[in-house]
């Protein structure tokens, strides 16, 4: 599509990558998913790998990711995105394969697949969006829900005696020899988005080395599920989520040489 030089009398200086489709996203205002989709597809576009990339969407809020991402995609069963991605990558080892999952999908129902995919060191990029609730089904408690945090299935706040503790699955995965690059990023500020993009670039670049799984957790917000305005949710994220899920690299290739 030809981009007109002027839009409503203004010069277009920031446009969507051609790896995103024209479909309007269904995400709630202020949700981090749209930003992650965009950054992910920017990287695919800039690396020129649209024709070599296959994505796997999860069950959860990003179940329709394939409506927005203009690459070949599969929609997996709940929790099984990384298993489906394994199947794809094993038969098409020269393609770039990523899975995209939320916290309930990746760290509750799909925990076994998550751990074993990383333990086998499948050469894929796993994106893990952690917003501490089940967004799609209406804000129920997730494995990553903070202690004391109210959700529709922890109406008095998560209590460890009943519901256990927030699961830091990324820390767990970083211990596995099959993990090549493990990092925790966020999208609540412009600076965080830029860092996430860098991490996703590495995640795709490392795939060609065939040295193991790249795993990126994105600590994100859920304004609707948290019942907050987008601005408040980002503030709450910084004050409550980040102390539990601190940002930064958990395993980098240099350190994994040890």
């Amino acid at each position: 599509m030809e981009i007109p030089p002027l839009t409503n009398g203004f010069e277009l200086v920031y446009k969507k990558p051609r790896t995103l489709t024209e479909t309007p996203m269904h995400y709630c205002p202020g949700c981090g998913h749209g930003v992650v989709h965009r950054v992910l597809m920017e990287v695919v576009d800039e690396m020129g790998i649209q024709d070599k990339t296959i994505g796997v969407a999860p069950v959860g809020c990003s179940v329709f990711a394939y409506d927005y991402m203009n690459v070949d995609m599969q929609e997996a069963a709940h929790g099984r995105a990384s298993a489906a991605a394994t199947g794809i990558k094993r038969v098409l080892p020269d393609r770039f394969v990523f899975s995209y999952q939320g916290d309930g999908d990746l760290a509750a129902i799909g925990t076994a697949e998550t751990i074993h995919v990383v333990n086998r060191g499948e050469n894929i990029l796993m994106l893990f969006i952690n917003n501490a609730v089940y967004g799609m089904t209406g804000g129920q408690m997730a494995p990553t829900t903070l202690l004391g945090m109210k959700t529709t299935t922890s109406p008095f706040g998560r209590e460890s005696g009943l519901a256990g503790h927030p699961l830091k699955i990324t820390n767990l995965l970083a211990q596995l020899p099959g993990a090549y690059y493990v990092t925790r990023q966020a999208v609540h500020t412009a600076a965080a988005v830029r860092k996430l993009k860098k991490a996703i670039q590495l995640g795709f670049q490392y795939q060609s080395l065939k040295k193991g799984t790249c795993f990126i957790e994105v600590v994100s917000n859920c304004p609707s599920g948290w019942k907050m305005t987008p601005t408040d949710s980002n503030k709450w994220l910084e004050e409550n989520m980040l102390p539990m899920y601190p940002l930064g690299d958990l395993k980098t290739p240099a350190r994994s040489m040890n």
Binding site: D51, Q74, A77, A84, T86, I88, L92, R95
Partner: protein
């Protein structure tokens, strides 16, 4: 023994191993599985022989993971097989339902053992309902082939792949523990005799200038989901019309026809011999495809018969399909064993004699 898989070859093999070797020869490109008795020889054989072939063989962490790996690999266009035994197949039901909706071809092998529950490792046909009526959620069907010999354990791999790719629907080989474990002479089909088909729908990376491919079983608008269902039902009708397979022995002059599939059909062959020696005109109808079921043939035979006896290693599952086909045109009896027990030719004969003499007999002991 040196192997040249370019030619057909006579071997003596276990059913499980014959199936595994046939899968390589049928051009299988990926296998995902998880060990379970009585079919673990499949993955063991594949792992041992894999270095000679251009094929992914991966032991998954569970049957749940394995079937979803199959989903991914089939969606990426590969010819994929998965095998397990009854409890493991139960774990795959979700993934199988998804694959029917996303119209992904693959070959699923169930070397059945006795259930329910953890059950026993001895042979059974207790998963007939699960295999032919759906098993997972939603309105779907598998193409189900029931081998009765080690030869067919190999041959049906080719047929299963072919049919699943022709219809973009998972196919299942419904065997049992005895077929998997027993050794017989067979002729292995030559490698390369099953051509690959074009899969323009496969997610192999969006070709420049063309639309992206999406493999999904999610159609959230009910109007769209209904259309998908109508399409699937039309496909199942076409399969029913074109792919029914069965075998008959001695039905021309028969008064009593035994309907049996798989291993039990072979047991019934011995019963038929014994019965004929005693002057009883007994024939056999052996459904080879369990879906599509040879209902039409059974309906044709029924009015000419004194009785039909369905013989199964379960509590009477195919029996329901036989009765639906017969629609009251002749009496339909059942003889079976359960829980890993195999009926002997003599006990089937006892049932046949009782039916011929209109006496009571023990349905299942």
């Amino acid at each position: 023994m040196s192997t040249n898989d370019e030619i057909s070859e006579v071997r003596i093999m276990k059913g499980n191993e014959a199936l595994a070797e046939a899968a390589f020869r049928a051009g299988m490109q990926a296998y995902f599985g998880y060990p379970i008795t009585p079919q673990s020889e499949v993955i063991e054989y594949l792992m041992k022989e894999q270095p000679k072939h251009d094929c992914v063989v991966l032991q998954a962490e569970s049957e749940v993971a394995a079937i979803n790996m199959v989903f991914g690999a089939a969606g990426a266009g590969a010819r994929v097989m998965i095998s397990s035994s009854s409890p493991g197949i139960s774990l795959m039901m979700e993934g199988i339902s998804y694959m029917t909706s996303a119209e992904l071809p693959c070959l699923i092998v169930n070397v059945q053992r006795g259930g329910p529950g953890l059950g026993t490792i001895q042979p059974s046909q207790g998963d007939y309902f699960q295999a032919t009526k759906g098993g997972g959620h939603g309105d779907y069907r598998l193409i189900v082939l029931a081998p009765a010999s080690v030869q067919e354990m190999a041959d049906f791999v080719f047929e299963g792949f072919r049919l699943s790719e022709k219809y973009r629907n998972p196919a299942m080989i419904l065997a049992d523990g005895a077929l998997g474990q027993m050794m017989e002479k067979l002729t292995l089909p030559p490698a390369g005799s099953l051509p690959y088909v074009d899969k323009p729908w496969a997610t192999t990376g969006k070709p420049a200038g063309k639309d992206r491919r999406i493999i999904t079983s999610l159609f959230i608008q009910p109007e769209k989901m209904e259309q998908v269902n109508l399409h699937l039902q039309e496909k199942y009708r076409q399969i029913q019309a074109e792919e029914v397979r069965f075998e008959e022995y001695g039905v021309e002059d028969a008064d009593i026809v035994l309907v049996a599939f798989g291993l039990v059909a072979r047991i019934c062959q011995k019963t038929m011999q014994l019965a004929r020696k005693k002057g009883l005109r007994v024939g056999i109808l052996r459904p080879i495809t369990l879906f599509p079921f040879p209902s039409q043939r059974i309906a044709e035979l029924a009015p000419k018969l004194e009785a039909i006896v369905t013989v199964e290693m379960n509590a009477g599952q195919m029996l329901e399909d036989v009765r639906l086909a017969v629609e009251g045109r002749c009496p339909v009896h059942f003889k079976g064993r359960m829980g890993g027990m195999i009926p002997s030719p003599d006990e089937v004969l006892e049932a046949v004699e009782a039916i011929a003499e209109k006496r009571n007999f023990e349905l299942s002991r």
